[in-house]
């Protein structure tokens, strides 16, 4: 590892650990609901097609990260990549967007864990879902345990998360096998509406059904790149995890559709759209298991609801710490957070910061849920940088050995850029506007560090396109169709075409603004010195 950036991390994460970390972000509590919403938009076969298209879209975006992440295995994922190809401002914006999203996840997951635990233990939350003192205590204990595990060496962290992930894989798999084995009605695939609402149904399922958002947590290995045993593992783990998770989701969808008992649900067969307002809404798979007389599966699904958020909280505490440590190395976060712990070589100070912020966010103030919804969505910003950097870094750092070269990048990179822009657009108004406001608000912090460290204006300018892109997407979202909360000036499918074309224009601008940044020059210099 070259000295200077991300130096000192232990390279202890195996391919298995990384596949498990990547899939952690993709098999969240979402799997319980995505199948329901997807079939309510797209019907039986349509929903399966939608899952395949969703995986393909996210794979396009993911592919563009693989070449650069493997060539520059640095902590913090998008931050160093953005910094190297488009300078300080771009590096900061993608780092900030990912950081504020990830920092919110552990406290949210800890609260979710306690909420589900309240089915088994009394006195944790009130009937309206507000934490009681004992509930607070349990949440703080969970966050503390997450912190302690994260402060251990990355090998221990990787093994603990992999263990939890085996459970997280096993439960959906068990639900699928059981429902297909004991409650499967093949006739559900023959009733009318197998492509409910036609092509637009598939499209709505992708966005509003939550398919794209289910896959977007693929980037664990990219954030933890500095700790991968081999550089190859970074891209391999992303591809393997995406394909495995896609297969699992297709089976979940098949099991869900097959196990639908229309008469018990109270919906006429083939009226797919009514499913999303039916009895199933309280817990799609638990209800199906209950109707099929599989009481034991209902209990296991409830236990899973307690265990799964704990696992997600554990891995998500690791990511913002790496991102913040990387931001400190590049000079746009306090330098004090650069240091790794002496023994375990993890970003201890950044981890403790995450824990403290988590404690603050446990206090529920008015509008808390709105704020949480916004903050956890800012991650989407970080995906734009992968496609924008691939060709730029080929030109500015051709000498760096690539373990993976993206074939067809001239087509894949612009398409990946277009889809990552559309993912922001698909958040829908007003969320897209609120997300962009939150990310742009980070510029006040960037302004402070610019004054302190006197960043070069020529380099800052190279990242201005990213700010403009975010702003334009928010405006397009406002002008878009009412189904996404807009004022319907640009109706479907024109909104898709207009946003796609404008984002391709921004892709061209991003290519013109690529730069061999000072940090990249320093990094390349350190590689040369290491080779001597």
């Amino acid at each position: 590892m070259a000295q200077g950036f991300s130096s000192g991390y232990k390279r202890d994460l195996s391919l298995f650990n990384l596949v498990m970390l990547n899939s952690m972000g993709m098999i969240g509590s979402g799997w319980l609901f995505a199948a329901l919403y997807t079939s309510s938009y797209a019907g039986s076969f349509g929903s399966i097609i939608a899952w395949i298209i969703g995986a393909a879209i996210v794979l396009l975006v993911a592919l563009t990260f693989m070449e650069v992440s493997t060539a520059f295995p640095l902590a913090g994922g998008s931050t160093p990549i953005g910094e190297f190809s488009h300078g300080k401002l771009a590096g900061f914006v993608v780092g900030w967007g990912a950081w504020i999203s990830d920092i919110m996840t552990p406290p949210i997951e800890a609260v979710a864990m306690v909420t589900y635990l309240s089915f088994f233990v009394k006195g944790l939350i009130t009937k309206t879902g507000v934490l009681l003192p004992l509930g607070y205590l349990v949440v703080v204990m969970v966050l503390l345990i997450i912190l302690i595990i994260n402060l251990q060496s990355v090998r221990i962290f990787g093994n603990v998360t992999s263990g939890i992930m085996i459970w997280k894989w096993a439960i959906p798999a068990l639900a699928v096998v059981t429902l297909i084995g004991f409650a499967f009605h093949p006739s559900n695939f023959a009733i009318s509406g197998s492509f409910y609402q036609g092509y637009s149904g598939i499209f709505y399922a992708l966005v509003l059904g939550g398919i794209v958002f289910s896959f977007e947590g693929f980037r664990g290995a990219i954030n933890m790149a500095a700790e991968s045993q081999h550089r190859d593992y970074i891209w391999k783990s992303v591809v393997v995890a995406l394909l495995l998770v896609m297969t699992l989701y297709i089976f979940i969808q098949v099991a869900f559709v097959g196990a639908l008992d229309w008469s018990r649900i109270g919906v006429s067969p083939g009226n797919w759209g009514a499913l999303s307002n039916s009895l199933l809404l309280s817990g799609p798979f638990a209800k199906e298991a209950e109707f099929a007389g599989l009481g034991w599966l209902v209990v296991i699904l409830l236990i899973d609801a307690v265990v799964s958020p704990g696992g997600a909280g554990l891995s998500y505490a690791a990511y913002p710490a790496r991102i913040f440590q990387s931001m400190a190395e590049f000079g746009y976060a306090p330098a004090w957070f650069k240091n790794l712990t002496d023994k375990s070589k993890v970003p201890g100070r950044a981890l403790v910061l995450g824990f403290l912020i988590g404690l603050i966010f446990l206090y529920e103030f008015p509008g808390w849920h709105l704020l949480v919804g916004i903050l956890t969505s800012t991650l989407v910003i970080a995906y734009v940088i992968g496609p924008a950097t691939n060709s730029v870094i080929r030109k500015t750092a051709p000498e760096v050995e690539r373990k993976y070269t993206l074939k067809g990048s001239k087509i894949i990179a612009p398409l990946g850029f277009m889809f990552s822009s559309l993912i922001i657009y698909w958040s829908g108004w007003p969320l897209s506007g609120e997300v962009v406001i939150t990310v742009i608000a980070g510029l006040f912090m960037f302004g402070y560090f610019t004054a302190k460290n006197n960043f070069d204006m020529r380099e800052i300018r190279r990242g201005m396109w990213l700010i403009a892109l975010l702003f334009v997407i928010a405006i397009l979202s406002y002008l878009g169709p009412s189904v996404y909360g807009g004022i319907n000036i640009i109706p479907f499918p024109w909104d898709f075409i207009v946003t796609g074309l404008i984002s391709l224009g921004f892709y061209a601008i991003s290519q013109l603004n690529g730069v061999k940044s000072k940090s990249l020059q320093m990094y390349l210099e350190s590689l040369k010195q290491e080779a001597k």
Binding site: L89, E434, G447, T450, M457, I460, F471, A474, I475
Partner: protein
């Protein structure tokens, strides 16, 4: 004003201009006839702040850029 501070002003005024513009859109409200997205008084104030901040950004941006290019 020193160079680093001028850049900081440029970045902060840009952020302020964009944030206030989006906030103004978020605060659009239906009017008496029930037509959505008519500027409320708050939207109008925010659009005004946005315009002023954007002008301040342009001025400070060119000053900051000139400073770096002279070095």
């Amino acid at each position: 004003m020193e160079s680093g501070m001028m850049k900081s002003v440029a970045i902060s005024t840009l952020a302020l201009a964009l944030i206030t513009f989006l906030l103004a859109l978020l605060m659009m409200q239906p009017n008496a006839q029930g037509i959505d997205d008519v500027p409320s008084i708050w939207s109008e104030i925010l659009f005004g702040i946005s315009a002023v901040a954007f002008i301040a950004f342009l001025v400070s941006y060119f000053k900051a850029s000139r400073g770096d290019e002279q070095h």
